[in-house]
C-alpha cells in the first residue's frame, strides 16, 4: 500500500491498533481525546490544504530550494557586515531601553511594592503587551513614524515589557518581606527600600533575563528588519525580492553566525552571573 496516499487518519488508527497488543485498557482513556484531536487535525488540514502527502512534498520542496540557494554569493559578504552590525545594535538598544522600561513596570506590578489598584492594572498591561506580536507593534510604529531603525528599536523595547516585566515582577514578589519590613522599620522610605533593598537583590536575575532577552531580540531584529527596520533582515528580504537567491544565502549565513555568536556570548555571560550571584 502506498503510504503517501493513505489519509493520515487511517495511519493514526492502525498505529493505535498496534498498541492494542500491549494493553488496550490502559490506553482506553486516551480514546476520546485522540479522536477529538484527529478530527481537529482533519479540519485544520482541510483549511490549510495539507494532507500527509502534501506535507511531505512541501517540506521536501522547501529543503531542495534551500539547496538551490547554495552556494552563497561570496562577494556579497562584505556588503552584509554593516547591516549585520546594525541589526545587532538595534537589538542591543532595544534590550537596553526595554530592560529599563521593564524594571519600572515590574516595580509597579509587584504586590509588595505598589498598591493593589496600580498593581493589577500594570499586570493587565503587561499581559496585554505579551499578547501583541512585536511585528504588529512595529507595523503600527511604522505607520506613525515611517520606516527606519527608530520604530524597530521602540518595537523591541516595548516587546521586552511583556516578558521581562512579568519575570521581574514575579522575582520581586518572591523577595522575603521581612527584609523590607526591616528597612522600613529603621526609617527608610519606599524609594530607598527599592534602591537599597530590592534592586541589589534582583540584580543577578535582571542581568540574566536581559541577556536571554537579547538573544530573542536578535532574532526579532532580523524579522523586523525585513518589515522595514533595516539591517541584515532587510538585506535578506531584498535579496529574495530581487531573485538574488545566492545573495540571500549569504545573508542567511551571516544571520546564522550572528545568532550563534549571540547565543554563545549570552550563555557565557549568564554563566558568570550565576557564579557571581551565588553571593560571592
Amino acid at each position: 500500500m502506498n503510504n503517501r496516499n493513505m489519509p493520515y487518519r487511517l495511519c493514526l488508527l492502525t498505529d493505535f491498533m498496534k498498541w492494542r497488543e500491549f494493553s488496550f485498557k490502559r490506553y482506553r482513556k486516551w480514546l476520546l481525546p485522540l479522536l477529538i484531536l484527529a478530527a481537529m487535525t482533519e479540519g485544520a488540514a482541510i483549511i490549510c490544504g495539507a494532507t500527509f502527502g502534501k506535507l511531505e512534498e512541501g517540506l521536501l520542496k522547501g529543503i531542495s530550494f534551500l539547496g538551490f540557494m547554495f552556494p552563497p554569493d561570496w562577494s556579497a559578504f562584505a556588503e552584509m557586515v554593516q547591516p549585520a552590525f546594525q541589526s545587532i545594535v538595534i537589538a542591543f538598544l532595544g534590550t537596553v531601553f526595554g530592560t529599563i522600561l521593564s524594571v519600572v513596570f515590574a516595580l509597579l506590578a509587584a504586590a509588595n511594592i505598589s498598591n493593589p489598584w496600580v498593581r493589577n492594572i500594570t499586570r493587565l498591561l503587561i499581559g496585554l503587551e505579551r499578547s501583541i506580536p512585536e511585528i504588529v507593534i512595529l507595523l503600527l510604529l511604522i505607520a506613525a513614524f515611517g520606516l527606519g531603525s527608530m520604530p524597530g528599536i521602540i518595537a523591541l523595547s516595548l516587546g521586552c515589557i511583556g516578558m521581562l516585566g512579568k519575570l521581574l515582577a514575579d522575582t520581586i514578589e518572591e523577595l522575603d518581606p521581612i527584609m523590607m519590613e526591616s528597612m522600613e522599620s529603621v526609617g527608610a522610605n519606599k524609594m530607598q527600600i527599592i534602591v537599597f533593598g530590592v534592586l541589589p537583590q534582583i540584580m543577578p536575575n535582571l542581568i540574566s533575563y536581559a541577556l536571554f532577552r537579547f538573544e530573542i531580540n536578535i532574532r526579532l531584529s532580523v524579522i523586523l528588519g525585513a518589515v522595514g527596520a533595516g539591517g541584515v533582515g532587510y538585506e535578506l528580504d531584498y535579496s529574495f525580492g530581487m531573485l538574488q537567491y545566492h545573495r540571500a544565502f549569504t545573508a542567511l549565513l551571516v544571520i546564522i553566525v550572528m545568532i550563534f555568536g549571540t547565543e554563545r556570548l549570552s550563555y557565557i555571560l549568564r554563566g558568570k552571573i550565576k557564579m557571581e550571584g551565588a553571593l560571592k
Binding site: 485544520a44 522547501g62 505607520a143 527608530m150 535578506l236 528580504d237 529574495f240 540571500a248
Partner: protein, 270 residues
C-alpha cells in the same frame, strides 16, 4: 590596633559613576549611529496621536463586510495547530534519534543533532520566504514554516528530556534484541509524556503568535489581513483586527493553560 581595609563609599561612588558614564556613552554612540533619538518618541508624539486618532473607534463591521476575516482567524488557528502537531511529532521522532539513551549509533545521533541545531538557528524569516517560493504564498506555506520552527525550537529540548529520564537498564539492553528496545520505548514514553504535552501546549501558544507575524510575509491568516488593511490605510479596520488578535492570543493562552492543568494536574511548566 589593627586597621581594617574597606573600600570607601566615595571610591565606590566614583567607580559606579565611571561605569554609568561609560555605558551611557556607549548607548549614546549607538543611538547616534542608528540615528535614533529616544526622546524622539515623545517629541514627535503628534505622529502617534494622529495615528491613534485614525485608529480609534475600531471598525468591527469589517467582520461582517468581509467574510474572509472570520475565515482567516480559522486559518491562523489551523496553521498554528497543524504546525504544532506535525512539528511536534517530527520533533519527537528526531529527538529519539538524537538522544544518547535511545540511539546507540553515534553517527545517527551526531547527524540528527547537527540537523536540529541548524533548524533551531535558521531564522523564521528565511523559512517563510523559502516556502512562499516553494509552494506559493498562503496558509500552507505558513504551516510548513511553523512545522520547521517547531522542530527547531523543541527538537533539542525533547532530546534533552529523553536523556534525562530514569532508565534502569544500561547499554546491555541493546544487545538483547529489538523487542526489548520497544520495551524501553514504552518505559521512556510514559516518563516524558507530561513534559511533552506541556511543551506542545506551550508550542501552540507560541505558534499562534508566530503565525500572526508570518501572515505579513505571505503566510495567510489574520496577519495577512492586518497587513492588507494597513497598506490601504484602513486604520479602523487595523484596530479592530488587533483587538481580535489580542483576544485570540489571550484565549489561546487560557486554553493551553486550562488543558495543561487538566491533563497534568496543577504545577509549573517544566
Amino acid at each position: 590596633m589593627n586597621t581594617i581595609e574597606i573600600t570607601l563609599p566615595s571610591k565606590k561612588y566614583k567607580r559606579r559613576m565611571t561605569i554609568f558614564s561609560v555605558s551611557a556613552i556607549v548607548v549614546s554612540v549607538a543611538c547616534i549611529y542608528m540615528n535614533f533619538n529616544p526622546l524622539g518618541f515623545f517629541a514627535e508624539f503628534h505622529f502617534v496621536r494622529d495615528l491613534l486618532g485614525e485608529m480609534f473607534m475600531p471598525n468591527y463591521r469589517v467582520l461582517a463586510d468581509n467574510s474572509s476575516i472570520g475565515y482567516s482567524i480559522l486559518q491562523t488557528l489551523s496553521m498554528a495547530f497543524l504546525g504544532t502537531i506535525y512539528g511536534g511529532i517530527i520533533a519527537v521522532i528526531l529527538a529519539f534519534l538524537a538522544a544518547l539513551n535511545t540511539m546507540p549509533y553515534r553517527i545517527v545521533r551526531v547527524l540528527t543533532s547537527i540537523t536540529l541545531s541548524l533548524l533551531r538557528v535558521i531564522p523564521v524569516l528565511v523559512v517563510i520566504l523559502i516556502f512562499v517560493i516553494a509552494v506559493g504564498p498562503g496558509v500552507f506555506a505558513g504551516m510548513l514554516t511553523l512545522v520547521i520552527t517547531t522542530i527547531g525550537t523543541f527538537g533539542k529540548l525533547f532530546a534533552e528530556i529523553i536523556e534525562n529520564t530514569e532508565n534502569p537498564p544500561g547499554e546491555a539492553i541493546y544487545s538483547v534484541g529489538a523487542s526489548r528496545l520497544q520495551v524501553i520505548r514504552f518505559s521512556i514514553i510514559p516518563q516524558i509524556l507530561p513534559s511533552l504535552i506541556a511543551n506542545l501546549l506551550y508550542a501552540f501558544d507560541v505558534n499562534i503568535r508566530t503565525a500572526i507575524g508570518l501572515g505579513i510575509f505571505g503566510g495567510g491568516g489574520i496577519g495577512f489581513q492586518l497587513q492588507m488593511a494597513k497598506s490601504v490605510l484602513h486604520y479602523k479596520d487595523v484596530t479592530a483586527l488587533i483587538s481580535i488578535i489580542i483576544v485570540l492570543v489571550i484565549l489561546a493562552e487560557k486554553l493551553s493553560d486550562f488543558l495543561r492543568r487538566k491533563i497534568l494536574g496543577d504545577g509549573k511548566l517544566r
